[in-house]
C-alpha cells in the first residue's frame, strides 16, 4: 500500500515576495534556505525549511498561469498542500480506483528529479493537493 509520509510543503501565493518575507523571515524568524526563479512554473519561489516540512512563498512571474489567476481571484494566502508519498504511481492508481479526479494523470518531473502530480480540489475538499515522490 502506498503511504503518505509527511507534509512536504505548504505553498503560499504572494504578490510581493520581499513584503511577504518581512513577515515570515523577519518577524517570525524562519530562515530562507533558497530563493530562485523557476521559469518552468513562471514563478519566483522562496524556500523556508521548517522542521521536516517547508514553507514555499510563490510569486507568479506571468499573468496567464493558474497561480496568477488564483492570486487575482482569491488574493494572497495558502495555495496548495504538498504531501510526500513513498510510491507516487501506486498512490495515483489507488486514487483513480476511488474515483478521485487528478489534474496530472501521469506524474510530472521537476528539474531536481522529484516526481509530482496534483489532485483536483473538487476531489479533495477544496484543497489543491500536490503529491511528491522524493527519490
Amino acid at each position: 500500500m502506498p503511504v503518505v509520509k509527511k507534509v512536504h510543503h505548504v505553498a503560499l501565493v504572494v504578490a510581493d515576495l520581499e513584503a511577504a518575507l518581512t513577515f515570515w523571515r523577519d518577524a517570525l524568524g524562519i530562515q530562507v534556505a533558497e530563493r530562485r526563479e523557476v521559469p518552468a512554473e513562471a514563478a519566483e519561489i522562496a524556500f523556508l525549511p521548517l522542521g521536516e516540512s517547508e514553507l514555499e512563498l510563490v510569486r507568479p512571474t506571468a499573468q496567464d498561469t493558474g497561480l496568477a489567476r488564483f492570486l487575482q481571484k482569491r488574493g494572497e494566502g495558502m495555495h496548495h498542500l504538498c504531501l510526500e508519498v513513498d510510491d507516487l504511481d501506486g498512490m495515483l492508481q489507488q486514487l483513480r480506483q476511488r474515483g478521485v479526479e487528478l489534474i496530472n494523470e501521469t506524474p510530472r518531473s521537476g528539474a531536481d528529479g522529484k516526481r509530482y502530480a496534483f489532485i483536483h480540489p473538487r476531489s479533495a475538499g477544496g484543497v489543491l493537493v500536490e503529491l511528491y515522490e522524493v527519490p
Copy 2:
C-alpha cells in the same frame, strides 16, 4: 530569541466530515487518531497525524462563528496554518515590535493545556496563522 519549531497542523474547513474522510482517510490512507466535538470552538474535528505534523478536518457546528462564516464565504479548503513555537509570549512580543497585527493580544489556553494565539491574515500574507506553545 523565540523560535518557530515546525508546522504543528494544517486545518481544513469542511462542510461534511464523513465526506471529507472518504478522501483523506480512505483514498489517501491517512489514519484518523481521534475525532471529537470541541464545544469551545463550536466544531467537530478529526485529527490525522502525518509525520511530525497533523491535518485537522474541522466542521463548524454553529452558524455564528468565524469558521462557519469562512466556510460560507470561501467554501471548503485550507483554513489556517498552525506553527509550533518554543516561547509564545516572547514571539508575540517580537511580532508586536515588528508591527504585526494579532487577533489574540494575549495567549489563550486550550482544554489540553496548550497555549495559542492567532495572527491576523492582514499581517501574514492573507494566511490565518495560529501559534502554538506545547508544554
